[in-house]
C-alpha cells in the first residue's frame, strides 16, 4: 500500500494547513505568553502560501484519491475566498483575543482545522468526504463558539450550536445512507447516474434528498433551518461569529451547490421549487426580524440570514426548470460573486463591532454606537460604508452582488423573485441605516464619551483596510472578480 505522490500534491494546500495546525499545537505549550502572536503570524503566513499555491493551480481539474477529491476552478475559487477570510479572521483575532482575555493559541489551531474541513467540503466529490469535512468544520466551530467559557452566553451559544448541529448532521447522514442504498456508492458522479436513472418519484431519492436539503439548509442558515443562527452569532466571540458568518456559510453553499448539481443534476425540478420556497421565506423572515433588533451582532446575524436568502436566489436559478446551461451557470457565478462580496462587507461590519469597546465589553449594542461619528469619525464612516454596502446601495460592492443575482433571476424568468428581493432590500435599508442614523444623528451621553474607546490594533486596521478595499473597489470595478467567478462556475454541470 503506497500513497500516490500526485494525490498529495493535489491536496498540498490542505496538507500545509493541517501541518501548520499540528505544529502550532505542538509549539503552543513551549512558547512564552509574550510570543503567542508569532503562532498567529505563522498561520497567516501559511495561508498566504496556500493562496498562491491554489491560485497557481487555478483552471485545471485534477481528481485525487479515486475521485473522492477534485481540485477544479470551482473549488479553487472558494478556497481562495476561504484563505482570505480565515487570514483576516486570524489578524482580527490577534487583538481581539487579548481584549477579551481569551488569549489561547489553540484558537488559531481551530481556525486552521476548521478551514481544512471547509476546504475538504468545497473540493469533495464523495459524500463521505463531504460529510467528514462538514464534521471537521462544525466540531471546531462548536468549540470556538464556546471559547469564552466563562461567559454563560458563549457557552449557551456553543451548546445550542452543538445540539442542533449534531441533530442536523444526523439527519444528513441518514440521507446519505439512503443514497448509498440508491446508488451503491457515495460518489456524487455515481449517485447522479443512479438518481437520473430512477427519476423524480422514487421514494428513496425523494426522502434522501429531503434529508440532505434539511442538513445543508441548516448549514447555510436557510429558513426554517436557520434558527440557531441569531443565538449562536450573538453568543459566540465576535471573531468566531465572523468566521461562521462568512467562511462556514461560503463553504456550506459551495458544497450544497455541488451536491445539488453534481448529485441531483438529473432531478432539478425536484429541488429548485423547494429551494425557491426556502429562498422566499429566508428573504422575508431575515429582513423582517432584523428590523426590530437592538443588538448589532444579532441584527447582523439576521441580516446574514437575509443574505443567505439572496444567495439562494442563485441556487434557485441554477435549478429552475427551463433554464438552459448559460442561465444556470450565470446563477452559479452570481452566487459565487455575491458570497465573495458579502464576505467583505460582513467582515468589515463585524470588525467594527469587535474593535469598538465600551467599558470592558465590546460595543455590540446599538446604543453603544450612539454619536460614534462625533468621537471616531473614521470608524463611523467605515461602518456607514459597510451598512450601505450590505443594504446593496451603489456605488458599493453590495449593489454589484445584488445586481448580478437579479440579472440571473430575471434571466431565468423569475422576475417576481427579483422584485421581491429588491423590495426586501429596501426594507433592509431601514435597519442598516438605523445604525448610520444612530452614529451620525444622535448625541452621545456624557458617560458614553468616557467609556467607549476603539481597540484598533494594527492587525485590525489591516482587516478593515482589506474590507473597505473590497467593498469600494469591487463596487467601482467589479470586472475582474466577475470574470473569475464566471470562469470558475463552468466545471459544474
Amino acid at each position: 500500500m503506497s500513497i500516490p505522490l500526485a494525490d498529495l500534491v493535489t491536496i498540498l494546500p490542505e496538507l500545509l494547513v493541517v501541518f501548520t495546525a499540528c505544529v502550532l499545537l505542538v509549539l503552543d505549550p513551549i512558547t512564552p505568553a509574550s510570543k503567542k502572536d508569532f503562532l498567529a503570524w505563522m498561520c497567516f503566513g501559511t495561508l498566504v502560501v496556500c493562496f498562491f499555491v491554489t491560485a497557481a493551480g487555478m483552471g485545471q481539474q485534477t481528481f485525487a484519491f479515486g475521485n473522492m477529491v477534485v481540485v477544479d476552478s470551482y473549488a479553487s475559487f472558494w478556497k481562495l475566498l476561504l484563505y482570505l477570510v480565515s487570514g483576516l479572521t486570524i489578524l482580527l483575532s490577534i487583538g481581539y483575543l487579548k481584549d477579551e482575555k481569551i488569549e489561547l493559541a489553540e484558537f488559531y489551531g481551530f481556525i486552521m482545522l476548521s478551514l481544512t474541513g471547509m476546504m475538504i467540503m468545497v473540493s469533495g466529490t464523495d459524500l463521505l468526504v463531504i460529510y467528514l469535512g462538514i464534521e471537521l468544520m462544525s466540531i471546531s466551530l462548536y468549540i470556538m463558539a464556546g471559547f469564552k467559557r466563562f461567559e454563560a452566553k458563549s457557552i449557551e451559544a456553543s451548546a445550542k450550536y452543538f445540539i442542533l448541529g449534531a441533530f442536523s448532521s444526523g439527519i444528513l447522514l441518514y440521507g446519505i445512507s439512503l443514497l448509498f442504498g440508491v446508488a451503491g456508492s457515495t460518489n456524487l458522479a455515481e449517485i447522479s447516474t443512479a438518481v437520473t436513472a430512477r427519476g423524480l418519484n422514487d421514494p428513496l431519492v425523494m426522502i434522501s434528498m429531503m434529508l440532505l436539503i434539511v442538513g445543508f439548509g441548516f448549514k447555510v442558515a436557510a429558513v426554517p433551518f436557520h434558527m440557531w443562527t441569531p443565538d449562536v452569532y450573538q453568543g459566540a466571540p465576535t471573531t468566531v461569529t465572523v468566521f461562521m458568518a462568512v467562511a462556514s456559510k461560503a463553504a456550506s453553499f459551495a458544497a450544497f451547490l455541488r451536491v445539488l448539481l453534481e448529485g441531483f443534476g438529473g432531478v432539478k425540478p425536484n429541488w429548485s421549487g423547494l429551494i425557491l420556497g426556502m429562498c422566499v421565506l429566508t428573504l422575508i423572515l431575515g429582513n423582517l426580524v432584523a428590523i426590530v433588533q437592538t443588538n448589532i451582532k444579532r441584527m447582523l446575524a439576521y441580516s446574514s440570514i437575509a443574505h443567505a436568502g439572496y444567495a439562494l436566489i442563485g441556487v434557485v436559478v441554477t435549478g429552475w426548470m427551463g433554464t438552459e446551461a448559460g442561465v444556470a451557470s450565470r446563477g452559479v457565478s452570481s452566487l459565487m460573486l455575491y458570497l465573495a462580496i458579502y464576505s467583505f462587507m460582513t467582515m468589515g461590519a463585524f470588525t467594527i463591532v469587535a474593535i469598538l469597546r465600551r467599558g470592558g465589553l465590546e460595543g455590540e449594542e446599538l446604543d453603544d454606537f450612539t454619536g460614534l461619528a462625533k468621537r471616531h469619525q473614521g470608524a463611523a464612516f467605515l461602518m456607514m460604508l459597510f451598512m450601505i454596502s450590505l443594504a446593496g446601495i451603489p456605488p458599493t460592492a453590495g449593489f454589484i452582488g445584488k445586481f448580478y443575482l437579479l440579472m440571473a433571476a430575471v434571466d431565468a424568468g423569475l422576475t417576481w423573485l427579483a422584485v421581491l428581493g429588491l423590495i426586501f432590500a429596501a426594507v433592509s435599508a431601514f435597519y442598516y441605516l438605523r445604525v448610520v442614523m444612530v452614529m451620525y444623528m444622535r448625541e452621545p451621553s456624557s458617560d458614553q464619551e468616557l467609556e467607549t474607546r476603539l481597540a484598533l490594533s494594527p492587525t485590525a486596521t489591516v482587516v478593515l483596510a482589506c474590507a473597505v478595499a473590497g467593498v469600494v473597489f469591487l463596487g467601482i470595478y467589479p470586472g475582474p472578480l466577475v470574470s473569475v467567478a464566471t470562469s470558475s462556475a463552468i466545471p459544474l454541470p
Binding site: 442542533l164 434539511v214 426554517p224 433551518f225 423582517l288 432584523a290 428590523i291
Partner: protein, 631 residues
C-alpha cells in the same frame, strides 16, 4: 426705430431709480419727469406721422421659438395706439409732476417714482405691442405695477389687502385672457396681430371641442370662444361687473396712482384691447352682445353705488367704473371710435377729478370723508374751479369734452339696433345719476360751512404749484379734447366704422335728452345738498333698503367672501389635515409601520429554546416531504 424710445425712456428711469433709489431719494423726479417728458414729445411726433392714416411697425427681437410657435416682439403704432400713447404720456407726465408735490417727504419717494415709471413703460408697451404674448406680458405687468403702487403705504392693513385683492382679481381675468391667447394660437398657428387679423375671416366657421382628449365632443365656435375668453381679461382689467370689486379698494393707493392707473390708463386697457382686437370681435356677434351687456351693467351698477358713497375718492372711483361701462358698451355695440373717444376725454377729466381730490385731501391732511369737509371753495380756489370743470365734463355738460364724447357714444349706441337702444336708455339714466353724484360731491365738499377737523381747519390752503399746474392743464384738456376732431383721427384705425350720421332727428333727440338728464341730475343735487339738506336723510330712511344696497355696493364683496374666499381657506386647512396628512401620508408611514410590526411579531418565533429550533427544522422536513407526497 426712434419711437422705440417712447417706452424705453421710462424703463430706463425705472432701472436707474431701482438701482440707485436709496442714493437719489428726494431727487428722484429729476430722472423720472424728463424721461416721461421726452417720450411725450416722441409720442406727439409718432402721432403726427400716423395722422394721415398709415402705420408704423418696429420689430424688436424674436422672443422665443418652439416647434411651430414663433413669437416676435415688436412695436405697432396706428391711430388707436397713437391716441393712447398721447393719453398715457400726457397724464403720466402730469401725474409725475403732481407727485413731486403730493408725495413730498414720503419715505418711499424714490420707490414711488420708480414704480410709476415702470408702469408708464409697461402701459406704453401694452398699447404698442404687435402680438398677443407681448400684450399679455404687459397686461400683467401693469397689473403688477398697480399692485406695488396700491400697496405703497403697506403699513396700512387696508392698503395691503387692497393690493392683494387687485392682483388676484386681475389674475382671475388674466386666466381667461391666457386661455384666449392659447386658443388663438391653436386656431391661427401664430400670435402676431396682423396675420391673425388677416385670416380671421377664414376661421369664422371653426369650432373647438371643449373637452378635447377627455372626450365628450362639446363643440363651440372658436371665434366666439376666443373673444369671450379675451374679454374675461378685459372684465378683470377694466373692472367690469362682476370683477369690479378691486377698483374701489384700489383707492387705498396714493391719489396720483388713482388718477394715472385707476382712472386714465390701466383700467382702460380692457377697452383698448377690445378695440384693438376689433377685427376678431366684429366676427362674433355673440361676443359683441356680451361685451355690450356687461358694459351696460357696469355702467348702471357703478352709478347706483356712487350716489351714496361718502369717501370722495371712492365716489370718483365708482364713477370711473360706470364710465368704463359706457366705453365697453360702445365697443360692444361696434362704436369703437366713440368708445375710444370717450376713453380719451374721460382720461383727461377723470384724471383731473382725481388730482383735484388729491389736492383737497392734501389740504385737509389726508382726510377723505367728505362729511368732514365743506366750504373749501374759498380756501382752494384753483382746485375748486378745475374741479367744477371736471365735474361738468363728467356730467356731460354742453360744450365740455365729456359732452361731445358721451353724446356721440350714446348716438352710435342708439343706432346699433334693439339692444343698443335699450342700453342707450340706461345710458341716459346713468348720465343723470352721474351728474347727480358728481355735483353732490362738489356741493358737499366745497360749499356750505366747513366741517373740517378743527385742529387744522385754519391751515387749509392751496397746495404748491406742482400740484395746481397739472390741474389747470388737465382742466384745459377736458374742454379742448372735444374740439380737435379725435373721432375723425381714429376712423383710420377702424375701417368700415363710419360713425352714425351726426345729424337727423335721432342725433338731436339724443343730444337733448342726454343734456337734460345731466341738468336734472345737477339740479337734484343742488336741491338735495344746498337748498334743503334734509331730503336725503328722509329718502334714506324711506328707501333704507335701496340705500343700504347702494351704500354697501350691492353686497358683492360680502358675497364673494362668504361664497369663495373663506371656504377656500377653511377647506384648504381641512383637506391638508384630514386628507393629505391623515390619509395619504398615513398610508405611506403605515406601510413602514406594517413591516416593523411583522418583524416584531416574527421575532417571537425565536424563543431561545433549543428544542423549538429543532422542532422547526423537523417541521421544515415534514413540509418538504409532504410537498413531495402531494406533488
Amino acid at each position: 426705430m426712434l419711437y422705440a424710445l417712447i417706452p424705453l425712456l421710462p424703463l430706463f428711469a425705472f432701472i436707474v431709480l431701482g438701482l440707485l433709489g436709496h442714493r437719489i431719494k428726494d431727487r428722484a423726479h429729476l430722472i423720472a419727469v424728463p424721461a416721461v417728458g421726452i417720450s411725450f414729445v416722441l409720442s406727439v411726433m409718432a402721432c403726427s406721422e400716423v395722422v394721415d392714416g398709415h402705420v408704423l411697425e418696429i420689430p424688436l427681437y424674436t422672443w422665443a421659438t418652439s416647434g411651430e410657435l414663433t413669437i416676435r416682439l415688436g412695436l405697432y403704432v396706428d391711430q388707436l395706439t397713437a391716441a393712447m400713447l398721447l393719453l398715457v404720456t400726457i397724464v403720466s407726465g402730469l401725474v409725475h409732476v403732481y407727485t413731486i408735490g403730493y408725495m413730498h417727504g414720503d419715505p418711499g419717494y424714490a420707490r414711488f417714482f420708480g414704480n410709476i415709471a415702470l408702469f408708464t413703460f409697461s402701459m406704453l408697451m401694452l398699447v404698442m405691442s404687435d402680438n398677443f404674448v407681448q400684450l399679455f406680458v404687459f397686461w400683467e405687468a401693469v397689473g403688477l405695477c398697480s399692485y406695488l403702487l396700491i400697496g405703497h403705504w403697506y403699513e396700512r392693513p387696508s392698503a395691503r389687502a387692497a393690493a392683494t385683492k387687485a392682483f388676484l382679481v386681475n389674475r382671475i381675468g388674466d386666466f381667461g385672457f391666457l386661455l384666449g391667447v392659447l386658443l388663438v394660437f391653436v386656431t391661427f398657428g401664430t400670435l402676431q396681430y396682423q396675420p391673425v387679423f388677416a385670416d380671421a375671416a377664414a376661421h369664422v366657421g371653426e369650432t373647438v371641442d371643449l373637452l378635447g382628449a377627455v372626450g365628450g365632443g362639446w363643440e363651440v365656435s372658436a371665434m366666439t370662444l376666443i373673444c369671450l375668453l379675451l374679454f374675461v381679461g378685459a372684465v378683470g382689467k377694466s373692472a367690469q361687473v362682476p370683477l369690479h370689486v378691486w377698483l374701489p379698494d384700489a383707492m387705498e393707493g396714493p391719489t396720483p396712482i388713482s388718477a394715472l392707473i385707476h382712472a386714465a390708463t390701466m383700467v382702460t386697457a380692457g377697452v383698448f384691447m377690445v378695440a384693438r382686437l376689433a377685427p376678431l370681435y366684429n366676427l362674433s356677434p355673440v361676443a359683441m352682445d356680451v361685451v355690450a351687456v356687461v358694459g351696460g351693467l357696469t355702467m348702471i351698477v357703478g352709478a347706483t353705488i356712487a350716489i351714496t358713497q361718502t369717501d370722495i375718492k371712492r365716489i370718483v372711483a365708482y364713477s370711473t367704473l360706470s364710465q368704463l361701462g359706457y366705453m365697453m358698451m360702445a365697443c360692444g355695440l361696434g362704436g369703437y371710435v366713440f368708445g375710444i373717444y370717450h376713453l380719451l376725454t374721460h382720461g383727461a377729466f377723470k384724471a383731473l377729478l382725481f388730482l383735484g381730490c388729491g389736492s383737497v385731501i392734501l389740504a385737509v391732511h389726508h382726510e377723505q370723508d367728505m362729511r368732514h369737509m365743506g366750504g373749501l371753495k374759498d380756501k382752494l380756489p384753483i382746485t375748486y374751479w378745475t374741479f367744477i370743470i371736471g365735474s361738468l365734463a363728467l356730467a356731460g355738460f354742453p360744450l365740455t369734452a365729456g359732452f361731445f364724447s358721451k353724446d356721440e357714444l350714446l348716438l352710435s349706441a342708439w343706432n346699433a339696433g334693439a339692444l343698443g337702444q335699450t342700453l342707450t336708455v340706461l345710458g341716459v339714466l346713468t348720465a343723470g345719476m352721474t351728474a347727480f353724484y358728481s355735483f353732490r360731491l362738489v356741493f358737499v365738499t366745497f360749499w356750505g360751512e366747513s366741517r373740517v377737523d378743527p385742529h387744522h381747519a385754519d391751515d387749509v390752503r392751496e397746495p404748491a404749484k406742482v400740484v395746481t399746474v397739472p390741474l389747470l392743464v388737465l382742466a384745459v384738456l377736458s374742454i379742448v379734447t372735444g374740439y380737435i376732431g379725435i373721432p375723425e383721427f381714429l376712423q383710420h384705425a377702424f375701417p368700415g366704422s363710419e360713425g352714425a350720421g351726426h345729424h337727423g332727428p335721432a342725433a338731436t333727440g339724443i343730444m337733448i335728452v342726454a343734456t337734460l338728464a345731466g341738468l336734472i341730475g345737477i339740479g337734484v343735487a343742488y336741491l338735495f345738498y344746498v337748498k334743503s339738506p334734509d331730503i336725503p336723510d328722509r329718502l334714506m330712511t324711506q328707501w333704507s333698503m335701496l340705500y343700504n344696497l347702494s351704500l354697501n355696493k350691492w353686497y358683492v364683496d360680502e358675497a364673494y367672501d362668504k361664497a369663495i374666499v373663506n371656504p377656500t381657506f377653511k377647506m384648504a386647512d381641512y383637506m391638508w389635515k384630514k386628507f393629505d396628512i391623515a390619509i395619504i401620508d398615513n398610508a405611506v408611514n403605515g406601510v413602514a409601520r406594517g413591516f416593523a410590526w411583522w418583524g416584531w411579531v416574527a421575532r417571537f418565533i425565536q424563543t431561545g429554546e433549543t428544542q423549538n429550533y429543532a422542532l422547526s427544522m423537523t417541521v421544515g422536513a415534514v413540509v418538504i416531504l409532504t410537498a413531495y407526497v402531494v406533488f
